[in-house]
Point group: C3
Chain length 635, copies 3
C-alpha cells in the first residue's frame, strides 16, 4: 500500500524544458501522483474538433519515466472561449438575471445540452487516448462540481426534477406550503427557479433548487463516468469542494465515486486552521463511510484568510497534512505543483514556489515526501472513533434559504463548534448521516439539526433506547423534509419547547457557564434539569436537560455553550481526554497512534512500540516535539 504524494500539475503553462526540471524535482520531493489536465481543454482542443494531444502525450511519458503516476482529469470545468461563443445559451445566468461572460473559469450552465454534449465528447476522447497509458493511476472527472445557474434551460430541468420528485402539483403545493402568499401552482410551466423576486423566496422552493442542482450535477458526473468507464478500468473520482456555499450533497455523491477525494482550504490563520483540518478530514471519512479517501488539494505554503494569504510557519505545512493521513486520507496532495507565472491564481501557494526549489517551502515539501512512505502501513487500517456527530447538508441548505428567527443561526458554525469541543479534548469523532446505523457509538451529538426526517428522528430514538448517549443541540428537529414545522425530537428529549428566545447578548447559566446566540423556553416534561438559565427573561427555566430513555440517555442543550462549559460536557460524556491532537488507527491487534503537537512546548505522552517517523523503538513514553508529531505502532 502506498500513500499518494503530489498535486495538481498544469504543465501547459511552461515550456518543455521546465517539464524536465519538474519531473526531476518531483523525484527529489518524493512525489508519486500528479493531477494533470484540469484546465487543459483549450490546450487539447484549441478549435472545435481539433485535438492537439501531442504535448500531453509527452508530459505523461515524461512523468511515467520519472516514476510519477497520473490522476488524469477531464477538463470540463473550464470550457475554452470558442465554446462560449458558439453556444451563448450555455453561459450561466445569476439569480439577478446577469448572463456571465467567459473570462474566468467554470463559466457554463450544466443544464445546457451543448455543454453536456461537449463534456462527454472531450471526456471520451481523453479516455480513449489514455486508457492504456502506463502512467494512468486514476481518472479525475471535472473539478470541484459546484456551479449553478438560473437560466431558462435550468428552469426546464428543474421542472422535470420536480415532476419526478413530487408526481403531482398537489403534492408539490403541499410541500412548498404554496397556500401561503398565493403561490399555488396549477400548471407545471408556472414554476421558476428562485430568481430575484420582490421579497423573501419560498424556502422549500429554494431547498428543492439546491437539491435539484446536486442531482443535476451528479447526472453530469455520471455521464462522464460512463464514458470514461467504457474505455478504462482505472478508478474514477472527482474532487469534492467544501466552503460556505457547497452546492452538492457529498454524502450522496460518495456512493458514485471509486474513491472520495476532497479539496481542503482552511480560511482562518490561527488555530482555527488546525480545527478545520481535522473537521474536513473527519467529514471526508464520514462521506466515504469510514473507508480510506484522498486529500486531493490543499495549499502548500499559506492559508487564505479571505483578506490575505497567511504564510505557514515552519513545520505547519506538515502539521496540516499529517492529520489528514491520520484521519484516513490515502495521501496528501496540493494545488498546485509549480506556482503560476501569471493568471488569476499567480499568488496561490505551490509546492515549488516562485522562489524556486532553493527555499524553505520546497525543503519542507521534500521532508514531508520522505516521511509519508514510513506511514504507508496505516493506509488500510480503521480510524477508531466512539463519538459521532450528525451531518446533513440538506439541513444546511434549508437554513440558508429560510428566514430564520435569528440570522446568526448557522448550521456549519454549530457543527464546527461541536467538533471543536471534542478535538480540543483529543477525542476523535466520526461524522454520520442522521439515518445511519449509530449503534457502534457511545455518544452521538446532534448540533442544530433543524431539518430532520421522521425516519431519522426514529433512528435517534432507537439509538437511545438501545443504550446510546444522545446530545441534541438547540434548534434541532424543527422541520420535516418539506420544511414544515413540527418538533420531532421533543418526545425523545422529554421536553416541550414553548418559545424561541434568540439572544443578542450572552446569558448566564446557573452552573456558572454562559449561553449565547440562542435560548429557548424549555419545559421539562419527563426530563431532569441539568442546568438552568440565570437572569434574563428565562431566569430559572431549564437550559440543559437529560432524560433516561430505555437503556440510554437523551440530553438537550437549548443554547450555544461557551467553550469551557462545553468542555465539561465532553468530559462527562466521554470520560477521556488527550493533551494533543490524537488519532488512533487499528487493524487486527495493531494500533497506530498519531499525535500532533500544535503547541510551543514538547509534550511527553505514554506510548510503547515503534515510532514510525524515526523508526525508533518506544518504551513507555514518547516525546512529541513542539510543532511536530509522532506516530507509534503498538501491538
Amino acid at each position: 500500500m502506498t500513500l499518494w504524494y503530489g498535486g495538481d500539475y498544469n504543465p501547459e503553462q511552461w515550456d518543455p524544458a521546465v517539464w524536465k526540471e519538474d519531473v526531476d524535482l518531483m523525484r527529489r520531493a518524493g512525489v508519486n501522483l500528479v493531477t494533470v489536465g484540469v484546465f487543459s481543454w483549450s490546450s487539447i482542443e484549441p478549435r472545435p474538433g481539433e485535438y492537439t494531444f501531442g504535448w500531453l502525450d509527452q508530459v505523461l511519458d515524461l512523468l511515467h519515466d520519472g516514476g510519477v503516476s497520473v490522476d488524469l482529469a477531464t477538463p470540463t470545468a473550464s470550457p475554452p472561449p470558442w465554446f462560449s461563443r458558439l453556444h451563448p445559451e450555455a453561459l450561466p445566468v445569476t439569480a439577478d438575471g446577469v448572463r456571465l461572460t467567459h473570462g474566468s473559469r467554470d463559466t457554463y450552465c450544466a443544464c445546457a445540452p451543448a455543454y453536456r454534449d461537449a463534456a462527454r465528447g472531450i471526456a471520451g476522447a481523453l479516455a480513449e487516448r489514455y486508457a492504456d497509458h502506463p502512467a494512468l493511476a486514476m481518472w479525475h472527472v471535472h473539478n470541484e462540481y459546484g456551479t449553478t445557474c438560473y437560466c431558462p434551460l435550468a428552469a426546464e430541468r428543474f421542472r422535470d426534477w420536480l415532476r419526478e420528485r413530487y408526481g403531482s402539483l398537489d403534492r408539490l403545493n403541499e410541500a412548498w406550503t404554496t397556500a401561503f402568499w398565493s403561490q399555488g401552482y396549477a400548471d407545471w410551466r408556472d414554476i421558476e427557479p428562485p430568481r430575484k423576486t420582490q421579497y423573501l423566496v419560498n424556502p422549500t422552493q429554494y431547498l428543492d433548487f439546491r437539491r435539484f442542482w446536486s442531482d443535476e450535477l451528479l447526472a453530469a458526473f455520471r455521464e462522464q463516468k460512463n464514458v470514461v468507464r467504457a474505455s478504462s478500468e482505472a478508478p474514477i473520482t472527482t474532487n469534492f469542494v467544501f466552503g460556505g456555499w457547497v452546492p452538492v450533497n457529498h454524502a450522496q455523491w460518495a456512493a458514485e465515486v471509486d474513491v472520495v477525494a476532497i479539496d481542503h482550504y482552511p480560511d482562518q490563520a490561527g488555530i482555527g486552521a488546525e480545527e478545520q483540518t481535522a473537521f474536513g478530514a473527519d467529514l471526508a471519512r464520514g462521506w466515504s463511510g469510514g473507508k480510506p479517501w484522498l486529500l486531493m488539494e490543499q495549499a502548500a505554503g499559506a492559508l487564505n484568510e479571505g483578506r490575505r494569504w497567511h504564510t505557514k510557519e515552519p513545520g505547519r505545512m506538515a502539521r496540516h497534512s499529517l492529520p489528514h493521513v491520520a484521519r484516513g486520507s490515502r495521501g496528501a496532495l496540493f494545488f498546485q505543483w509549480r506556482a503560476s507565472r501569471g493568471g488569476a491564481e499567480m499568488y496561490h501557494p505551490a509546492m515549488v514556489p516562485h522562489a524556486g526549489p532553493d527555499s524553505r517551502m520546497f525543503r519542507e515539501i521534500t521532508e514531508l515526501g520522505a516521511v509519508l512512505p514510513r506511514l504507508a502501513e496505516v493506509a488500510e487500517s480503521n480510524v477508531v472513533a466512539e463519538v459521532a456527530i450528525l451531518w446533513d447538508v440538506e439541513c444546511w441548505w434549508a437554513m440558508q434559504g429560510t428566514h430564520l428567527p435569528s440570522s446568526e443561526l448557522d448550521y456549519l458554525k454549530a457543527v464546527r463548534a461541536a467538533h471543536r469541543h471534542f478535538w480540543r479534548a483529543g477525542v476523535t469523532v466520526d461524522f454520520a448521516a442522521p439515518d445511519a446505523d449509530l449503534s457502534s457509538y457511545g455518544v452521538v451529538v446532534v448540533p442544530s439539526l433543524y431539518l430532520i426526517s421522521d425516519e431519522a428522528a426514529a433512528n435517534l430514538t432507537t439509538y437511545v433506547e438501545n443504550g446510546g448517549q444522545l446530545v441534541v443541540g438547540y434548534f434541532s428537529g424543527i422541520v420535516d423534509t418539506d420544511l414544515r414545522v413540527r418538533h420531532a425530537l421533543t418526545d425523545l428529549l422529554g421536553v416541550r419547547i414553548e418559545e424561541f428566545h434568540p439572544l443578542a447578548d450572552e446569558v448566564a447559566l446557573a452552573s456558572g457557564g454562559r449561553g449565547r446566540l440562542w435560548s429557548e423556553d424549555v419545559h421539562a416534561v419527563s426530563a431532569e434539569v441539568v442546568d438552568r438559565y440565570a437572569g434574563g427573561v428565562l431566569d430559572g427555566r431549564p437550559a440543559i436537560t437529560r432524560r433516561q430513555a430505555g437503556a440510554g440517555t437523551a440530553w438537550y442543550v437549548s443554547t450555544e455553550l461557551d467553550d469551557e462549559t462545553a468542555a465539561g460536557l465532553v468530559q462527562e460524556l466521554t470520560g477521556t481526554g488527550e493533551p494533543l491532537e490524537t488519532v488512533r488507527r487499528r487493524s487486527g491487534d495493531t494500533t497506530w497512534t498519531f499525535r500532533i503537537n500544535h503547541g510551543d512546548e514538547d509534550v511527553v505522552v505514554p506510548a510503547t512500540g515503534v515510532e514510525l517517523v524515526s523508526g525508533a523503538p518506544v518504551d513507555g513514553e514518547v516525546t512529541v516535539p513542539a510543532g511536530g508529531y509522532a506516530v507509534v505502532r503498538s501491538e
Copy 2:
C-alpha cells in the same frame, strides 16, 4: 361601540378541521374581527377565470356562526403564478433593469394594464359574491400598497403624470433645474424613470417619481374601491405600511379610505419599540385627522430587530397594544392568527403560536381580549394634545433623493427624536401637515422640514403671529416643492443662515448641552440668542435663538440636541411632565386617562374616578403596576 380584536386569518393553509378549532379559539380569545383573503388569489382563482369560492364560503359561514366578523381582503397584492406566466410584461423591473420573477409576494407592476384589469376583475367577483354575507364588516382592498417598478409601462405612465403636473416642458425643465448637467427636455418621450444612471440622479426627477407612484397606486386603489362599492356599502379600507421606504403619501390617501388602517412593526428590541409604538399611533391619528383609526397588523409575540426576532417579555404584548388604543385605534389586530406551518413567514409571530393555545403567548392574547371590551367606551372620544409635530412625507422623499451636505441627515430620525423627547415627558402630541390649521396647539415643532411650500411657510408665520410657540429644527425650510434652494423660514425666525457645518463629532453648547450631526453659522438678525456654540469653528456663534413675532414666539435650534438638553426645552415649552406614558381622551366632560408603565417598579399617580380594567373606583390615586397599565375615567 366596539373595539376590534383579532388579526389576519389565512385559513387556506389548513384543513377544515383546523378551521373549527380556530373559531373556537377565537371565541376563547375574544376575537371579533379577522382579515381574510389577503393571500387567497391562487386559492380562489387557481386557473384563469376558474373560481373556487366554496372553501371561502365555508370559512365565512364558520366565522359568522362563531360571532367573528370579517374584514374581507381583495387578494390583489399577490397575483397567482399563472398570471405572471400569461403576462410577463406585468412583472416588475428594478432600477437596475432586473425583471423580477414570481416566487415571493407583491411581484407585479401596478402600471401594467393586464394587472389592473385582473385586479378589478377579482375584486369585483369577491364584492359580488360576499356583499351580503352577514360576516362582512369591512373591505380590505389589497395589502400594504408599496411596490414600484421602473419598466417601460411605468415610464409611460410617469410621462403622463408629468404632463398632467407640469403642463409644459418649460415648466418641468424649470422645476427639475435641467439647465444643469445638460438635462433640458424638448420632447416628452425623452423622460425616463430615475433608473440606474452614471452618477447622481436628478433629485426632483426622483421626487416626482415618488409622487407619481403614490398617485398611481392611489388610482389603482380607487379603481378597486369603485368596483367594490358598486356591490357593497360596507366600509372600505387598505392597510398603510410604514418603514424605511414608504412609497405612498398616507396623509393624502387617508381622504380616500373609510377608515385609516395601519400596520405597525417596531424594529428595535429595547425601549425604542415603545417609542415607535406611540410614534406610529400618533402618526396614524394625524393621517386620519384626529378621527378613530385602526391598528390592522402588529406582531404578537416578538419584535423583529432585523437580525433576529426578540421575544416579547410577559405583559409587553399588551403594553404595545394599549398605546394604540389610547392614541385612537379602534382596536388591536395582529398578523397573523395562527402561525404558518411552512413558507416564507413560518417564523413570523402569531396569536396562536407553533406551541399552540397552551402557551404563555396565547394566554396573554386571551387576557388582552378580555380587557378590550372594558375600554370600548373610549372609542369615540378625542385624544387631547396641545403640541403638534409637523410631518410631510414629501420632505422625506426629497431628502432620500438629494445628495445632501451630510449623509446623516435623516428626516425620519429627526422627527422620531422630536416625538421621543415629548413621549419621555409623558406629553401627547399630534402630527399635523405643514399647511394644516395649527391654531389649537400651544406648541408646534418642525423637525428638519427641509422641503416646505411657500404656503406652509406662510401658515407657520400666521401661527406664530397669532400667539403660537413654534420650534423649528435645523435644516428646515431650505427648498421649495421643486427642490430649489431658498430659505423660507429665516424671516420668521429672525436669523440668517450663512453656512452649514455638518458635524462628524459632537459640539459643546455654552449652556452645557451638546449638539451633534449638524450645526450652522447662524446670524441673529432680529432674534435673541438662547444658547451658543462653545468651542470649534463656530465658537461663540448662536446655536439656539428665539424671536418674538406678533403674539407668539419662533425658536430656532440649529443642531441636533442631546436628550437632556432637549428635555429641558420640552419642559420650558410645555411646563408639564408625567412620570409614565400618559394619554388623555376626552368626550364632553368625561376624561379617560391611560397610563402605561414600561418600567420595573409600580408607580402611584393621582387619579379620581373609575379604573376601567379592574372596574374599581379610584379616589385620589391609582397604582400603575410595573409593566402594567391603568385607565381611569373621570367626570
Copy 3:
C-alpha cells in the same frame, strides 16, 4: 504673465439679470478666467441640429466686457436627453450588463460611433462660432474623461486595440497567461471585455481593458482637438480627474494637451486634505514634465469627506489654493462660480454661495483674488525638487485587477504615504515616470511599484550606479508589463525575497520602529542589513537593507513603516527638514520661497528679500502667521 483666477460658470441656470450681477461680482473678486459650456449641450442644441447660440453669445460678450476671459468647453461629457433616445445603443453598459439610463451626466459609451459623430459635430460648431471671440482664452475639450463601458461596441473596439497591441493571438495568449484556466484564444472574436464572470477575472485582460479605455478616450479627445484646431489657434486642454478609479493615463495624455489641467478634490477633512493638495499638485507637475499646469477645479468652501461636506475653516480655502500655485499651477480655479439653485449638485460649494456675496466665503474669495496678482512673477519659474517619487498608473491598474496576496496592498496609499513623509519634513518632491531621466535627483523613492518594465528596472540601475540614492518599497518590481512574475529589482537591491508575509497586525523592528500590512522573508545577498524584524515568524530576518552599487546606494524597505521611522529615514536621506510646508521656485538667480503654515501658532523662519503678499522687505526672518502663508523673493 498672469495667474488665472476663477471657475466653472454655468449661466444657463439663471436669468440674464443674474449674469450681469455675476460679472460685477467677478470683477470684485479679481476673476479673470471662467470655464463656460461644460454642461450646455442641451441648451445650445435643444433638438437635433437646432442650435441656439444666442444666449451664449450674450454671456461671452458680457464676460469680455467685464474683462473676464473664457475657457470655452465642448459640452460632450453630457449629451442631451434626445441623443439617448435616438441612439439607445450609445448608452453605456456596466460590467454586470446593466444598460444605464439618461438622467445624470456622462451617460454615453465613447465607443459608439453615433456618440463620436455627435461629439465632433457640436465641438466643430462651437469652434467655428467662437474661434474669433475676443473673450476666448482657451478650449476645454469635454470634462473629466473617465467613463467606460462594457457593451458590444466597446468589445469590438477592444478587440481591435488588442490586435494592434499584440499582432498575434500567440503573443496575446502568452501575455495573458491563458494556458491557465483553459483560456487560450484561437479566434479574435472569442475575446470579450472583463465583464462579470464566474470567478476571478484574468488580471492581464483586466489591465489591457484599462489601457484600452485610456487609449480610446484619448482618441476621442484627439478627434475633438483636431476639429477645434481646424478653426482656432487657442490653447486646447481637458481637465484631468483623479480619484479612486482613474480611467486614463494622465502622464501619457499630458503630451496631447497644450496645458495640463487638473481637478482636485481632497476626500479628508483633517490635515489629510493638505497632504492630498500637495500630492495632487506635485503629480500634476510630474505629468506636465515640470512645466506650469493649471488647477482647473477645486471646491471653494468645503471638503467632501464622502459622508459629509466639511466646511473649510477661515483662511483654509487660501491655504488649499496657495500650495497649487507654489507647486506650479498657473492659477486657482473652482467648481463652480455660483451655487446651483437646484439639481444634483445644489450643495456643491461655490465661489458665490447660497448665502450670496455678503458672506465670509465670498470675502475670502475676494481676498485670494487680490493676492494672486502679487504672485504672478513666479509663474514661469521652476519648482526646486531634489527628491523624486516614481508614479505609474498602470501599476495601480494592475494592482486593482489582480488577486494579490493581501487585499490591503494599495498602490495609491503607498505612494501617498511616501509623499506624506517628505511633505511633513517640508521637502518638495517631484513625481517621475519609472523610465524618466532621474539623474537630477539626489533621492528616488519607489513605493510598491509592483509592475515594472525591464527598461524601467534598467533605468533604476543606471540611476544608482551613477550615484543616486534609491529607496525601493515592499512589493516592488514583482511583475513585468504582462503581469508575469519575476523579481526585477532584487539584483540591484542585493537581496533575495523568498516569501511574502502579509501582516494582519503590526510587527516590531529591532530599531524600535514598527512595520504593518506587509513583510517579506528577505535574504541579504549582497546588501547590508539596516534594520531587522523583531519577534514574529521573521524574528531576526532583514527588514531594511542597503546596498552600495557603483557610485550610489539602493535601499530596500520590506514593510510599511510607521510614520516616525519613516521620518528618520527621510532625514537620513535628505539631511534637511523644514518646520512648515515649504516650496522653492527658481528662475536664474532669483528664488521664491513659499511657506504655508497649517498650524495654530505663528512660525518665524529665516528669510531675506521681499515678501510678495505684503510687499514688505524681509531681512533675516519672516513670520508666517498661524493659518497663513508668506512668499519671499530672494536674489
